[in-house]
């Protein structure tokens, strides 16, 4: 028991709990003291190189969104950072190489929530959240009063106290996501790695979960790394972004730098229009290829300019744009 609060986490926890956390919208991303840094990460699964030469920097208290098309290697990247996949390269947390840590020490620095967490149907919410204390409980020991208190207070904080004794099998989708988040918070790690935290949630619950993550991040100075498939959502919450394509970093920077029409067209093969909202965050709008207001550097264009322009002539200048009979959006069968 005496070793509970020792280990590599102590220094970071002081920093993470302290002041000096800005409102999260600065997005400079340069100050990585206390944050997460990944250098030259390479992951080879079986014989296939899934990631190579990947580098990341997340400042303390920042929110990095990893975006990319399906199969680009987003989840693999998160798992590798969490130390769950064999990899080469370095993952540093507050300058400490994760590789040098024992699994239990690592688990006190990094909390990971997978995209599709296994939720045993007959386990209660409290017991599930308590699993987050695993890195603090001796191998064959049992949880102590402090472990139960931490768990209870996190449940209270996420407004889950009333559900504490309910089996996981009888929760709604939004409740489940909150419970998974609770388990990660119970780990009391300064870095949260969330793989698609909003999968399978409707719009309202997506918003609630992400707002919750954001509040916790600001309140506790947590560093958050998420994969997010919804670019619009990612643009609203992240203060840094990394676009992964083909196992490499294709672009990295503030959301406005990464969410551009060209990059999205190139790496997602999607037709979007990007606008900047009044708070300076990019808003991504999906567009049907055959309709007015289509792509073509819209983020650098005046809105009226774009609307006035007739897209049909413009499109013919882009050889990679589907056009003519059989192209998407003009399929006669639709």
């Amino acid at each position: 028991m005496s070793g509970r609060d020792m280990g590599g986490g102590a220094a970071i926890r002081r920093i993470a709990g302290g002041s000096g956390v800005d409102d999260g919208d600065g997005g400079d991303g340069r100050d990585t003291a206390g944050g997460v840094e990944v250098r030259d990460l390479e992951v080879v699964l079986e014989t296939r190189t899934v990631l190579s030469g990947v580098g990341l920097r997340v400042r303390l208290g920042g929110w990095l969104a990893v975006i990319g098309a399906n199969g680009a290697g987003k989840s693999t990247l998160l798992k590798a950072v969490a130390g769950m996949l064999p990899h080469s390269g370095e993952v540093l947390i507050d300058g400490t190489p994760v590789r040098a840590l024992k699994p239990r020490e690592r688990a006190r620095l990094l909390a990971y929530a997978p995209q599709a967490p296994a939720l045993p149907g007959d386990m209660t919410v409290f017991d599930y959240a308590l699993l987050g204390r695993t890195p603090y409980i001796p191998y064959l020991g049992r949880e102590g009063r402090r472990d139960r208190e931490v768990t209870a207070s996190v449940l209270e904080r996420l407004d889950l106290s009333a559900l504490a004794r309910r089996p996981l099998g009888r929760l709604s989708g939004g409740e489940r996501q909150r419970v998974v988040l609770a388990r990660a918070l119970v780990q009391q790690a300064p870095v949260l790695l969330l793989d698609e935290p909003t999968t399978a949630l409707d719009l309202g619950h997506q918003q609630q979960v992400l707002e919750l993550v954001d509040r916790l991040r600001l309140a506790d100075g947590l560093t958050v790394v998420t994969t997010l498939h919804d670019l619009g959502v990612a643009g609203q919450y992240a203060d840094m972004m990394t676009l992964v394509a083909g196992g490499r970093v294709a672009a990295s920077g503030s959301p406005a730098e990464v969410l551009t029409g060209e990059l999205i067209a190139e790496h997602f093969d999607a037709h979007v229009r990007v606008e900047t909202d009044p708070w300076g965050r990019p808003q991504v709008h999906l567009e049907r290829p055959g309709r007015p207001g289509r792509r073509g550097r819209p983020d650098r264009e005046d809105r009226s300019d774009r609307l006035d322009r007739e897209d049909r002539t413009d499109r013919e200048g882009h050889p990679d744009t589907p056009s003519g009979p059989g192209a998407r959006g003009e399929d006669p069968c639709r």
Binding site: F126, R148, L155, R157, D159, S172
Partner: protein
């Protein structure tokens, strides 16, 4: 500012604000039909008000653990079934006198049952060790079954999943067919024990060759392959000596009438394996969220799996060595326990140990009294009684759930 400070206070109230709308809506939707027992303090405003004033701080939530009521109930069931099994038997001794005799055997108690020496001997040499052996074997098989289900995260796992039964069956058959000499009563337990361990090791080795990650799916498939292969050899050996079929089958169908000597053989292995399994209850709970997540929580998944598999296989092998292949206990009892007392392995493992013991003691009681003085094979009884019992448990608990 330390970590503990972040767990309470103003930020918590802020975090709560975001989700209260959803909570209220959901509570409004389902509260009338919902079971009140699961969240007694749910109320539209009650829980949030409590959260804000923090008056729950002194009552951290309760983790799954073995509650005294459940433990005492299980111990009571085991003792009651043992007592019933001791009082009743093929020999016509009045139960009252048996009870007095049992009291007399207790230390510091003296009673005069007035039993003839031959009746005393029958009780001491036959009935008592038989009840104890049934309790031990049933407990081992049920506990091992629960442990296998935890390791493989598969409700269909049972103690014989990894080739323990096929290995023991082959070794025993080989002993019966090839061994010359009179003392097969000692050779068969040794052969069955070695065969069960060998079968599991073979499956484990094959599984690790096929899937170096140590995944459970390849391990199960390796167990299936090993079982088929060893059973094929066993069948071939049986064909060589058809006249021995009855002896082989009587072993396969199980028997707990081995007496004190068999009890002595199994005791040390039982103690060690049960201790290891019970110590791993919490870790099996961690494992239930999957290998990846358990690893991300800092758990050495391969080590936990290996330790539990080793202990469960040791328990299975020692049970098989002294009783043959008794089916159904290892799969039914853990499920019944889960239905009645909850799914945490910190509860399921010890209660399966006690419940499995009680179940097999009663099964053996039926086996030796229904057709007395003839005996039914105990494996027949466990399946015949166990299946309806299991269905009843499923029905009762489903009604409680709904």
């Amino acid at each position: 500012m330390t970590r503990s400070a972040r767990s309470s206070g103003v930020p918590g109230a802020r975090a709560g604000d975001t989700v209260r709308t959803e909570e209220d809506a959901r509570a409004g939707d389902t509260a009338p039909g919902g079971p009140p027992s699961h969240d007694p303090d749910r109320g539209t405003a009650g829980s949030s008000r409590r959260a804000e004033t923090g008056d729950r701080a002194g009552h951290p939530g309760r983790a799954a653990r073995l509650r005294p009521v459940a433990a005492l109930t299980a111990v009571g069931a085991l003792l009651a079934s043992a007592l019933a099994a001791l009082l009743v038997g093929a020999a016509d001794i009045p139960p009252g006198k048996v009870a007095l005799q049992l009291l007399d055997w207790l230390p510091f108690v003296s009673a005069d049952p007035g039993l003839a020496p031959v009746e005393q001997g029958l009780l001491w040499e036959l009935r008592l060790p038989r009840v104890l052996l049934a309790a031990v074997v049933g407990g081992l098989l049920a506990c091992a079954g629960a442990a296998y289900q935890g390791v493989f995260r598969n409700p269909l796992a049972d103690p014989y999943l990894l080739g323990a039964a096929a290995g023991a069956g082959l070794a025993t058959t080989a002993t019966v067919v090839f061994a010359r000499g009179d003392d097969q009563s000692l050779m068969i337990p040794a052969a069955a024990f070695a065969g069960a361990i060998g079968g599991v090791l073979l499956a484990y080795a094959l599984g690790n060759i096929a899937g170096p990650g140590g995944g459970t799916a390849t391990l199960v498939l390796a167990g299936v392959a090993v079982t088929s292969f060893l059973t094929a050899i066993q069948t071939f050996l049986q064909q060589l000596r058809v006249e021995e079929l009855q002896r082989i089958y009587s072993w396969i169908l199980g028997n707990v009438g081995g007496g004190w000597s068999q009890l002595g053989l199994v005791a040390p292995y039982a103690a060690v394996s049960v201790a290891i399994m019970l110590l791993h209850g919490r870790l099996l709970d961690v494992l239930s969220v999957g290998d990846d997540e358990a690893a991300s929580l800092g758990l050495n998944v391969a080590r936990v799996r290996f330790a539990v598999l080793l202990a469960a296989s040791l328990a299975t092998a020692s049970a098989v060595a002294v009783s043959g292949l008794i089916g159904f206990v290892g799969i039914v009892v853990p499920h019944a326990v889960r239905r009645l007392a909850g799914g945490s392995y910190r509860v399921v493992l010890p209660l399966s140990l006690l419940g499995g013991g009680a179940f097999l003691v009663l099964a053996d009681l039926l086996a030796r009294t229904v057709l007395a003085p003839a005996e039914l094979p105990i494996g027949v009884v466990t399946a015949f009684v166990g299946a309806p019992f299991f269905v009843a448990v499923l029905r009762v608990t489903r009604r409680a759930d709904a």
